[in-house]
Symmetry: C2
Subunit: 279 residues, 2 copies
Amino acid sequence: MARVAVVGIGLIGGSMAAALRLAGHEVRGFDSTPGRGAVAVSRGLVDQSAGTLDECVRDADTVILATPVAAILSLLSQVDALTSDDTLILDAGSVKADVVNAMAALSRPGRAIGGHPIAGTEASGPEAADAQLLAGRTFALCPSRRTTPGTAERAAALVRSMGALPIRLEADRHDAVVARTSHLPQVASTALALCLEHADLSLAGPGVRDMTRLARSDAGIWGDIVRLNRANIAEAMREFARRFDDIGRMVESGDTSALADAMQRAGRAVAPLAETVAV
Amino acid sequence: MARVAVVGIGLIGGSMAAALRLAGHEVRGFDSTPGRGAVAVSRGLVDQSAGTLDECVRDADTVILATPVAAILSLLSQVDALTSDDTLILDAGSVKADVVNAMAALSRPGRAIGGHPIAGTEASGPEAADAQLLAGRTFALCPSRRTTPGTAERAAALVRSMGALPIRLEADRHDAVVARTSHLPQVASTALALCLEHADLSLAGPGVRDMTRLARSDAGIWGDIVRLNRANIAEAMREFARRFDDIGRMVESGDTSALADAMQRAGRAVAPLAETVAV
């Protein structure tokens, strides 16, 4: 069992902390937002809340950075300086290329690896954290060009101890994939919600509620994501706009046979999601 | 308690039948698709399955037409001829203007009223029907220009007996609203799913699963919907395209402050959906 320091105790950091604690690890948390540490202790997400970054990460076997991505980038060198040679450094940011590049530039880069738990809800903060949030979910692990094989193995074991499923892939590949599977759905949900700004929601059912759930999520993390994954997101958005325009032409021309074909293809494309992602 | 005939025992018709039966009504069902009647009987959705339309609606106090909309339009005059002066005729189609116009043209139009239960899942058929599907859901009631007040009251009482919440509105208004709250989310979900056709879904989480649930729904009913609500859907799609393009420009230019504003506005626009629609 390890001494784990979790920096950033929001929805994701708090949920990772809680899952690690359940697995028997000793978990110390730190969050620069006043009050979050106390919530994390009172909800049992962490064993202790530290007053400073130094106090949190000192003596830790593993440091997990679960803040927004820009903060991860600035915390890395501080954590590098504060920890020992064999401290595993893992992050939980949603964009990976810039993070692993920063990891490769650390003084002792072999012990750092990028991570991204594919989980979340529209809620945020330690109040919404839940030890089960990551259960059965994919957890992407993206080594930098200097991550050692031993670090990758330790990170995978830690992820499994949270109940999540580690998959290893290149950071660039990760960022291109999540532009489509995560960032594009977010912007589509936001655009849809804006169309409903003056609409009569008394006729809104479960379909539109699900389609606008992401639009209700915390806007705070998206500035970093867009800044750091701009090219991939822009490309995915251009493809979406083409697909949407195609459907618009089918609607305007009343080509219901082309529309039925498109819907059937669309349904087949995402059929695996009905089966593989637990509710 | 009434003798209710349900014509079309799919997800919606079967769920309405089951809810009515639970409320103590005697329910007879008919579906032109072989096998559906037997499934409905074996699952207890209906008391009896009729072999013909005539046998189903004869002697009924209330006839509910729960087929795709084009079939509703052609069934109306047949049901008009087969039923008595005081038989309530209600439909459950997703588009209302053409239905209530056809109702106004019946020989005895006062007893007919348009209806639309705002409920559904991505599943279809009597196998997926569930007495709870409509519980707590809005049920739009759209009188034709010749529907009598007594008919509207009977329909509202019937809807309440299913556990749903009747709200009365003009058919044209209904069609304009659902273009935004139902049909636009459907096409956005379909366009998104098409963008994922060749994507690596191992990194897909609950967000994209929810965003593509509608894309996995039955394509069969959408030809009618698009044909009968084309102008409203096209207008809603043009607005979506403008909103999406606006966000695309914010992403490409890295204007994360405008993006954060848009996300916050979007979240506020759909905040009521988090509270009013039960899971």
